[in-house]
């Protein structure tokens, strides 16, 4: 385990104060095998903000997000050019264990994916992985409260996580991700499988959570980015040799991207001319 990286979240906080960038993502080229999935996407993730990634299907939003906590390492044939820094430390440095990266940069997935265990054990899972010595029950309660799920499950913590509805399951997954207090939470289309009411709740939740956590949000829903994101990155897709390659078109304040987009492509996308 790399001590520099582990200590990074504390030591480098001051170093970074002027820029406030938690994750500096500089992806020049991302390959799956021979296929170029994403090119030229440089997106700094600001501390305490929600950074939204929007764009048409296949534009590589999820790929970019998964580069940030090295989830792509699990995919065979993945390689990339460029670099990703977390608090000025190279996330892909050869001494950095991807397991450690994922402990500091948590993730919520597109499909709710609670484990086949009790609600309590689901939330406690990360705490136990980290060999947390404090009061697990208290942390579980706090995480569930922050995820706005406590009221609904406090009387059935022993029930299976799979017994909850889709929206509840996704909030359970959010609780599980934030229980260990990671510095950044990556959310990969967290509402795509949910109904409008659950979506609303989770959006409210994101806005509450950004007080304490930095969030990177991939969404297929432009309106969602408009509602919750502080900064928005618009990615598009072009037909390239051997497939479709995504790239960053424009990055800016959410209001600027939606009200006054600089690029022609962004304007077309915002107007709904393609999706």
């Amino acid at each position: 385990m790399n001590m520099n990286f582990s200590a990074a979240s504390n030591v480098n906080a001051s170093k970074n104060a002027h820029s406030n960038v938690v994750i500096d993502c500089n992806l020049d080229k991302v390959f799956y095998g021979d296929f170029l999935a994403v090119r030229d996407s440089h997106v700094p993730i600001q501390k305490g903000q929600i950074t939204g990634f929007i764009g048409p299907s296949g534009c590589g939003k999820s790929t970019v997000l998964r580069c940030l906590n090295r989830m792509n390492d699990l995919i065979e044939g993945f390689r990339f050019e460029g670099n990703v820094h977390f608090n000025n430390q190279d996330v892909y440095h050869k001494t950095v264990d991807p397991v450690v990266v994922r402990r500091y940069i948590g993730m919520v997935f597109q499909q709710p994916n609670p484990f086949a265990m009790s609600i309590f054990d689901n939330v406690a899972f990360g705490l136990r992985l980290n060999r947390f010595k404090g009061d697990i029950a208290e942390c579980v309660e706090n995480a569930l409260k922050k995820a706005a799920l406590w009221g609904e499950v406090k009387d059935k913590l022993k029930a299976s996580g799979l017994s909850l509805s889709g929206g509840q399951q996704q909030r359970l997954c959010i609780a599980r991700a934030i229980a260990t207090e990671p510095a950044v939470v990556l959310m990969d289309e967290p509402c795509s499988a949910l109904d409008p009411i659950s979506t609303r709740r989770i959006e409210e939740l994101m806005i509450e959570l950004k007080e304490k956590y930095t969030i990177a949000l991939v969404t297929h829903n432009m309106q969602q980015a408009k509602r919750v994101a502080d900064k928005t990155a618009f990615l598009s897709v072009e037909i390239s040799e051997g497939g479709r390659t995504g790239y960053l078109v424009e990055l800016g304040e959410t209001s600027q991207i939606f009200d006054d987009p600089k690029e022609e492509l962004t304007q077309q996308y915002i107007r709904g001319e393609f999706s």
Partner: protein, 323 residues
């Protein structure tokens, strides 16, 4: 053609299914129903026949048959407690050994430890184990396993003879070689069904565990195994059921002696071996007794399978519905 079908008949490509389609559909459904019932009827007939033939013995020996420990044809004293014990003991031992290795192999072959092509080779080899005839296992046990375990057994008996499991010497055939061979025989079942269970775990569950910062072993031990636990338990039930009924290899390896011992090295007997060895020379009076023993074996496998299924449905319900 009814009124509904007539409304646009002739103008469209679409039309109702033909009479032949209906006939095929109906006859297939009929065939499936008959097959389903046939299974029940065959099982019922087997029970009925064995039960009817066992009646004289049941009325004569009653439940004492289950607790008696001698089998003497000349004196007409019969008891199958040593056989019941031997059946359960050898199967449980085989389940422990075969279960451990079977589940380990299933993990090894499904969790990306090997390139897919090599994993396939291993999987095929394990499945081939199921195709080896029982009698070949028996011979292998006699000529390979027994000579191999004998020095180990002698040493254990000499050094740790005070432990009940090692309290006798291995005179050749015995519980340990029988259980070892039996465990290899049930290994393909356990490994195959456990592999299916592990492969059924959705990728997103694995991803969730990695996303929380779990390393490979934490993912496997804490998430994959618990998610697949129902299926893995099912594989153990199937393996145990197979071990209970296994006959030939055990008849060759277990020693066929009416002993009731905890010792792994002592010879013993099982119900299936008892039946196989005694039927050919059974007299008028012995046949109902053997039928009675067969009924007991049937009952044991039935209870084990039912209990296994019940536990599986209970846990999978708990996993899905909670509470």
């Amino acid at each position: 053609m009814n009124a509904f079908e007539q409304t646009v008949a002739g103008e469209q490509i679409s039309g109702p299914p033909s009479q032949t389609d209906y006939l095929l559909d109906r006859s297939f459904r009929g065939l499936a129903t008959v097959c389903a019932w046939l299974i029940l009827i065959v099982v019922g007939l087997i029970l009925w026949k064995i039960g009817a033939k066992a009646v004289p013995a049941i009325s004569e020996y009653q439940l004492g048959f289950l607790t008696g420990t001698t089998w003497d044809v000349n004196k007409q004293v019969y008891g199958i407690l040593p056989e019941i014990w031997g059946t359960l003991y050898s199967s449980i031992l085989a389940l422990i050994i075969g279960g451990f290795f079977g589940i380990t192999m299933a993990i090894f072959l499904t969790q990306d430890f090997l390139p897919p092509r090599i994993a396939l080779v291993f999987r095929t080899i394990i499945e081939l184990l199921a195709a080896i005839p029982s009698v070949v296992y028996g011979l292998w046990g006699i000529y390979v396993v027994i000579p191999f375990v004998r020095p180990i057994a002698d040493w254990l008996n000499a050094e740790f003879g005070w432990i009940p499991f090692f309290s006798t010497t291995l005179s050749g055939p015995g519980m340990l070689p029988a259980a070892l061979v039996l465990s290899i025989m049930i290994l393909p079942t356990i490994a195959a069904v456990s592999q299916d269970a592990l492969r059924m775990v959705p990728y997103r569950i694995k991803e969730a565990a990695y996303g929380l910062g779990a390393n490979r072993w934490e993912v496997i031990l804490k998430v994959m195994l618990s998610t697949a636990s129902t299926g893995i338990f099912g594989s153990l039930v199937l393996g145990f059921g197979r071990a209970l009924g296994e006959t030939m290899a055990l008849a060759m390896l277990i020693g066929n002696s009416n002993q009731l011992s905890l010792s792994l090295f002592s010879p013993g007997n099982t119900l299936a071996a008892l039946l196989a060895l005694n039927f050919p020379e059974a007299g008028q009076h012995e046949i109902p007794v053997l039928m009675y023993a067969a009924l007991v074996l049937l009952l044991i496998t039935f209870v084990v399978n039912m209990a296994g299924t019940a536990i599986m449905t209970m846990t999978s319900k708990q996993l899905k519905a909670g509470r």
